[in-house]
Amino acid sequence: MIESDAFVQALQDIGVDFFTGVPDSILGGIIAELMERRLYTPAVREDEAVAMAAGAYMAGKIPAVLMQNSGLGTSLNTLISLNYIYCQPCILIVSWRGHGGKDAPEHLVMGEVMPQFLDTMKIPHRTLTEKTAIDDLKWVAETFMKKRIPVALNITKGVIKGLHP
């Protein structure tokens, strides 16, 4: 399991300097670490977080947005008609609720279709594993710089240490 502080440090090391989002339990440890480092700007909806990230990017920041995968649905239009068409990249740290069909009912459909959903939205994505973490983050940074569009790093349960292990 990856420690939250190591993950946050790795994001900072690739240059991320603006963090916003809406919480999820899987992301709890990361958000606690970001708050401790006074790096986190909370948003009230995922589409708002994505738009804030776009503004921060245009003001010279490298932004990351944390959200549950349900938030992909909420932010769909902003991701496409703002970030994508205006070439405003951001790093989406997306918790994969409903992964493997084991979760509360409200997460199962999005959990099942999430990779296809991201493909349809033309958002490049990878799923973080402990073994490939260094490579995954390198890929995220390179895709951000090269494509100038949102790029998603999917986080399944148990890969990063949460608040309640």
């Binding site: 603006f18 589409d47 708002e48 738009a51 921060a56 902003t78 703002l82």
Partner: protein, 185 residues
């Protein structure tokens, strides 16, 4: 009553190189027509997001005044952002709302801003200064005042439904991004 374009022109006369985020629909087209500046970010699409984009700029550039030109339909759609702005309290954030009580770009369907006073919602959410104006003199006076005070501030100006014949936003979206980024460096 002023038209939105008249109100916008009066405000743009008072601005120089401050970043201005302009909401989608007619407002962006009119702003481009009145004074096209590289410090303008014209939105097409992503309705409801203007204030959130501006908030991202304002938090990242705390030494610059960041202005939002918004509409009543836009504010209602992204009303949660009033709470986020009110809670984070960026001092350099000025939110101008041109309130014509209709969705102008889609054919003047009514919004609900005739019964929901948006500046009061902003005040309740934590904006420091809010004003509602109807006349040109008041608009200019209050906006100048807001430029000297710590915000966040909201200036709601009641405007009529008149639309300037302005044409679509000319630049391609990626060029708007590039030009804006360069201009606010």
């Amino acid at each position: 009553m002023l038209s939105r374009a008249q109100a916008m022109a009066a405000l743009l006369e008072l601005l120089t190189d401050q970043p201005v985020i302009i909401c989608n629909g007619f407002p962006s087209r009119e702003a481009q027509h009145i004074a096209d500046r590289p410090t303008h970010f014209y939105m097409i699409g992503s309705m409801g997001s203007a204030a959130a984009i501006a908030l991202g700029v304002a938090l990242s550039k705390p030494k610059k005044h960041v202005i939002v030109f918004d509409g009543d339909g836009n504010v209602l759609m992204g009303m949660g952002t009033l709470a986020t702005v009110g809670a984070l309290k960026p001092k350099n954030f000025i939110h101008v709302v041109f309130d014509n009580e209709v969705y102008g770009t889609t054919g003047n369907q009514p919004t609900i801003s005739n019964v929901v006073p948006l500046e009061k919602v902003a005040k309740a959410a934590g904006y420091v200064h809010v004003e509602r104006v109807r006349e040109r003199e008041d608009l200019v006076y209050e906006f100048k005042d807001m430029l000297t005070k710590d915000g966040p501030s909201m200036l709601l100006v009641k405007v009529n439904e008149m639309v300037e014949d302005a044409g679509r936003v000319k630049l391609d979206p990626p060029d708007i991004t590039k030009r804006f980024m360069q201009a606010i460096k």
